[in-house]
Symmetry: C2
Subunit: 288 residues, 2 copies
């Protein structure tokens, strides 16, 4: 452990203290006691964050932040795009700005269009948990998880290098990806599973009714864990990444329709389970 | 604990020592040392079961079992239907026969059509695990889980009562259900989630490719846990319950298609997440 290493940023404003923003604050606090953390959110959330020691100072808008070395936008995706313009107005040339949203093309494009973007690097920590909100934030949320950055025209390599140091300090593994590739990949790895889990929960629930659900096994419970995700995060992701998600949904719908047609054909069912089992084994290999 | 209670059956033959059959053997062994357990399977499995102390005697066919008080059919669904006729020929009038298959209409109908069915009661323990086979069997697999029985024309109430005592001894909660209702309910609670998880894994895997999978989050990992289930179990379930599974799949495909059409409509996404979140909360209430 490099406990005495100096922090990559000595002052950080985090806009949005939900699960991700709150966990970044707690992680920084645990790693670098010398780093000043300013939280921006609504008052009840700020009170919670202050009392739990996650932040040093609480303000209810970017106006009140003052000069900081890093601004992290951790609101829902579309709000981040609006906050970016505001953050850039408050930033000096040396301020680094990043976000933690689940789609990247929109905000990277918005940054490139700003007259004076500071150094903006889009970011996406692959962590998350069953439930959103500061109450579920924890300093080790990103531990051993990838943290994707999507550098664009507005990014500086010095800013990217400092962000790499920051997320390594939070236990994450930084990775870079083109924003377009990020959004397509996440449509398959994150957005499709989320929508599928939600749709499955709705159909299984209404098909079984509340009384029938007591006979559900662990399979349904695991497969629908994501169904408690907050809509507030996902309505923006669906809108911003509709083209890529649509492509992934089309593929899934087509496969389910062919499975439905072949339920009595043992060979077709075998093929589905063989392919799925092979991909599942590949997935688990990446987690070792 | 009622450790000294006499076993509901003093001799039990278990045909098929996979995850379920093996776990029943181990559970009985732990609960009632006085109960004789005879395993029927292929030789390598029998060797493993004997050496681990799960069974007292190993035979490679029902022919060799001799008189027992209970026969448990724990092979894949369609094999159980064939084994039932054989088991009934070997059974005396007092022998109880049950199975552990995931569909119930087929075997309950087959039992009613037998000239001398003994007392057959269809059964379905709601347990299971990520991987099949005796190697993953464990005595507490059924602990605090429902175990559904579907009594039919061939069932005796005395047989059902003894089966209730048996599965309570394994830690399960016995429940009775009509075979038709069971199959429809399981189409929504078990078969649909299984096929959805397998299809999702195939699409996510081929969309992301092996290299992209390293950027998957916990969401995909949990949602596709079932994708490693063995095809051998599921090809029979799909064939035997095709009508009910088809209905469930149609509903899911229709919902996914409407989500796909409404990706940019925030209200539609909100509705999906609201409904799914409510059903998920109902589901978790049943697990407390």
């Amino acid at each position: 452990m490099e406990q005495i290493e100096s922090p990559p940023f000595t002052s950080i404003a985090i806009v949005g203290l939900g699960l991700i923003g709150g966990s970044i604050a707690l992680g920084i606090r645990e790693r670098w006691s010398g780093c000043r953390v300013i939280g921006v959110d609504r008052r009840p959330v700020l009170a919670h964050a202050l009392s739990s020691g996650a932040i040093d100072r609480a303000v209810d808008g970017l106006d009140g932040v003052g000069p900081v070395e890093l601004i992290v936008l951790a609101a829902p995706v579309r709000q981040n795009v609006k906050l970016l313009a505001e953050a850039a107005r408050h930033a000096s040339d040396s301020t680094v700005i990043t976000d933690v949203g689940g789609t990247k093309r929109d905000i990277v494009r918005a940054a490139a269009a700003l007259p004076r973007p500071g150094s903006f690097v889009g970011g996406h920590p692959i962590g998350g948990g069953e439930k959103g909100g500061f109450g579920f934030a924890r300093p080790d949320l990103f531990h051993a998880r990838p943290w994707i950055f999507t550098p664009g025209a507005a990014s500086s390599s010095a800013g990217l290098e400092r962000l790499f140091r920051l997320v390594r300090g939070l236990g994450a593994t930084p990775v870079t990806l083109d924003a377009e590739a990020h959004d397509r990949l996440m449509a398959f790895l994150s957005h499709l599973p989320q929508l599928t889990a939600s749709a499955l929960m709705q159909i299984a629930g209404s098909g079984a009714a509340a009384d029938g659900l007591r006979l559900a096994g662990r399979g349904l419970i695991d497969t629908t864990r994501l169904a408690s995700s907050p809509a507030s995060v996902w309505r923006d992701v669906c809108a911003e990444n509709a083209d890529a998600i649509g492509e992934a949904l089309d593929q899934l719908i087509q496969l389910l329709a062919s499975v439905r047609a072949d339920l009595k054909k043992g060979d077709a069912i075998d093929s589905l389970f063989d392919a799925a089992g092979r991909w599942r084994a590949e997935l688990m290999k990446t987690q070792q």
